[in-house]
């Protein structure tokens, strides 16, 4: 409207944040929380919210690298299988191979990292499209977990092992600390470092990024390996929380994670997205699941609502963003 460029005022800045993807999503979350809180007084309590934090840690941890990957235009469908594989390797190396438990934990997480590295290696070196590669390893890693476990589960860990999954630190579930720190660190990494900028560049135009001298392959290899590592950590936390290992652990978690990431405003075509948005997506889904059940809905109705919210949120987002784009 004004011909001369002007410095953004505080109002402009505020409007910018409000009308950003995260702003819209945050607003949706706020509305849902308030609505749910009016339906039941059990929902908006510190205990309940902290408990939900405990439950969403695995999805939240895996969603961070998934955001990175989707920003580059890729996808990782094998995270659930990697989680199961890491859990099985942890239990197997402890119980069958007789590793000390500390070493077994490291072995488990490393096996997840290695699995992610294999994904990355094929995607980068052989050029397999990420969706196809991780679709294949979705079956492969689950199969490895089954084969290694021989359908047996490892249970009966010493007491300290459960601290991470079931214990509390300063009144807050232990794993939630881990989630908060990880989210903060990797949110900043994505938003403020060269790595983050490189990921956006790859997602916007991979060929262009290559020509402008970015070591695209190295970045891609890094984030897929990182994804495997996080799935491995999530596997460890999950074993610690439920105190046993099963080869079907984490089955289907990839869809929960992807739902949270796209709900958080990350475009499935790459190039845009943020850890903040993803975090809000993870929290929103978890709170909806919990709050709807508390207010008397059963799970079958809950999944209908969550599915609708997913579509609706993106719809609203599209609408507002296109309005902003036009004005």
């Amino acid at each position: 409207m004004q011909s001369a460029p002007r410095n953004p005022t505080r109002v402009d800045k505020l409007r910018h944040y409000l009308i950003s993807q995260e702003g819209v999503l945050f607003f949706i979350m706020l509305v849902s929380v308030l609505l749910l809180a009016t339906r039941t007084d059990k929902f908006l309590t510190v205990d309940n919210l902290l408990q939900q934090g405990r439950f969403m840690t695995e999805v939240g941890l895996i969603a961070i690298p998934m955001t990175y990957i989707i920003i580059t235009g890729g996808i990782d469908l094998s995270v659930g299988s990697i989680m199961g594989l890491a859990a099985i390797v942890l239990g197997w190396s402890w119980q069958t191979l007789g590793f000390p438990l500390e070493l077994a934990i490291i072995t488990g997480v490393l096996s997840g990292t290695l699995a992610g590295f294999v994904n990355g290696l094929f995607i980068v070196r052989v050029g397999v499209p990420p969706l196809i590669m991780t679709l294949a390893t979705l079956a492969l890693f689950r199969g490895l977990a089954e084969g290694i476990s021989q359908a047996r589960s490892a249970r009966g860990y010493p007491e300290w092992f459960y601290q991470l999954g079931q214990g509390e630190l300063l009144g807050i579930p232990t794993q939630l600390w881990l989630l908060i720190v990880t989210v903060a660190v990797f949110g900043i990494v994505l938003a403020r470092t060269q790595l983050g900028r490189a990921l956006y560049a790859i997602g916007n135009n991979e060929t262009g990024a290559r020509f402008s001298g970015l070591t695209v392959n190295r970045y891609l290899l890094l984030i897929y390996t990182f994804s495997g590592f996080m799935a491995g950590v999530a596997g460890y936390i999950f074993v610690s929380r439920v105190s046993t290992t099963r080869s079907d652990m984490g089955a289907g978690i990839e869809l929960d994670v992807i739902a949270a990431v796209v709900l958080g405003g990350t475009s499935i075509f790459g190039g845009t997205g943020s850890i903040l948005g993803t975090t809000i997506g993870v929290v929103l889904i978890q709170l909806l699941k919990n709050g709807l059940t508390l207010s008397g809905l059963t799970s079958d109705a809950t999944i209908v609502v969550i599915g609708s919210v997913l579509i609706f949120a993106i719809l609203v987002n599209n609408f507002i963003l296109s309005r902003r784009g036009n004005s």
């Binding site: 046993t244 079907d248 089955a251 508390l294 059963t298 799970s299 079958d300």
Partner: protein, 389 residues
């Protein structure tokens, strides 16, 4: 360079495929946990309760009926006595949306109606997922119900959240699939593992002879109930029918098409060398029967399995399947509600040896903290049309 790398990778993959081939992967599979088996005495008939003393000779005395001390947990003391008052229960089966748990829910509704002072709702994940089930239970703890009924997807994984429920003063009663004993008060046992195993193996041996060969279609190797049944079947068969030939056990998840295909594969692989198929789930049994029927081999291959009557009527009525073994899931849900009511009212205390359960009469306490529904029931052409669940 890249081509060489890709080639090397493909070669490595082929070698990896070869490894499981060369390994002798064909040992008899006998259940995945390391629990002891407790086969019943040989012979036909369903008098399994009395015969149990013989089996104790195996040195596994842990399961002796009525002699084991109560090993369940106890909820934290509540301020007020709920005896006779209205209570709200939530029922968390493994998953919702399948016929079997629809039947247990029906039984719970019947019991609640009869009692008049019980309100029970069913809510569970839409897939048999351990984490989702834990979260559902946790949410109901927060909501503050008086009692939780559960059928565990995993006995160990579910234990922490059940203990939390006990600490919150909520009564916890399991049915169908147990948890660790100290994480719940009572478990309504539909039929003992060894009883099911005996009924299944006896039926096959009766139909196809004591030297029959058979394959098994199960859900997954890690599903605890199925694993225990197969382990008990093995123990019972090797004691009582040493000439039975175990061919192979295949996984089919809870997938109708996969069950059908796995049964077809068994039929085609073994041809006339196979006389029977054991199907271990209420999905696998009808679909294995379908595979036999569509191959035109009714009578040549016997299908014996666990299934609900409604799913099996087409096959039993046309003679393709003779026996279907199952407890009555409606009664199971019914008993679970009655047991919970009795616990709340103080009528079922640790150390008791029986409990009254409405139309089912007196149910016995076994294994310390389990309420036994009764011997497994065998459905056949004579009686299957009398049931509707």
């Amino acid at each position: 360079m890249k081509k060489g790398f890709a080639l090397a990778v493909i070669l490595a993959l082929l070698v990896m495929v070869g490894l499981p081939l060369s390994a002798d992967g064909h040992e008899r599979w006998d259940g995945a946990d390391d629990l002891a088996v407790n086969p019943l005495a040989c012979g036909m008939g369903d008098a399994m309760m009395e015969d149990d003393s013989d089996a104790m000779m195996d040195g596994d005395a842990g399961e002796d009926m009525g002699m084991v001390e109560y090993d369940g947990g106890q909820p934290a003391m509540m301020d007020m006595d709920m005896a006779g008052m209205d209570i709200t229960l939530v029922d968390v089966p493994k998953l919702v949306g399948i016929g079997y748990f629809a039947a247990t829910t029906l039984g719970q509704k019947q019991a609640a109606e009869e009692l008049g002072n019980v309100n029970v709702t069913t809510d569970a994940p839409t897939e048999a997922n351990i984490d989702d089930q834990i979260q559902v239970i946790d949410t109901y703890i927060t909501q503050g119900v008086d009692g939780i009924l559960f059928a565990a997807n995993d006995p160990v994984a579910i234990a922490p959240v059940l203990r939390k429920a006990l600490e919150a003063g909520i009564h916890v009663v399991g049915y169908d699939a147990n948890s660790e004993p100290d994480a719940r008060e009572w478990f309504v046992n539909q039929a003992e593992f060894n009883g099911i195993a005996k009924a299944l193996v006896d039926s096959l041996a009766d139909q196809m002879g004591a030297d029959a060969a058979f394959g098994i279609v199960t859900s997954t190797f890690t599903t605890p109930n199925q694993a225990r049944w197969i382990a008990e079947m093995w123990a019972y068969a090797s004691e009582c029918y040493p000439d039975l030939t175990w061919l192979e056990t295949l996984e089919a998840q809870e997938d109708a098409v996969l069950s059908f295909q796995q049964a077809q594969t068994l039929i085609n692989k073994y041809g006339e060398d196979m006389d029977g198929i054991f199907a271990m789930t209420s999905v696998a049994t009808p679909n294995s029967a379908d595979a036999v029927q569509q191959a035109g081999l009714c009578g040549d291959i016997a299908v014996v399995g666990l299934a609900t009557p409604n799913g099996m009527k087409p096959y039993v009525n046309d003679g393709c399947v003779r026996d279907v073994v199952l407890w009555n899931p409606v009664d199971l849900g019914y008993a679970a509600v009655y047991v919970t009511r009795a616990v709340v009212d103080g009528e079922l205390m640790p150390g008791d040896s029986s409990v009254m359960a409405g139309r089912l009469g007196e149910l016995m306490v076994v294994n310390g903290s389990e309420v036994l529904l009764g011997p497994p029931f065998v459905f056949n052409a004579d009686n299957i049309n009398d049931f509707d669940f």
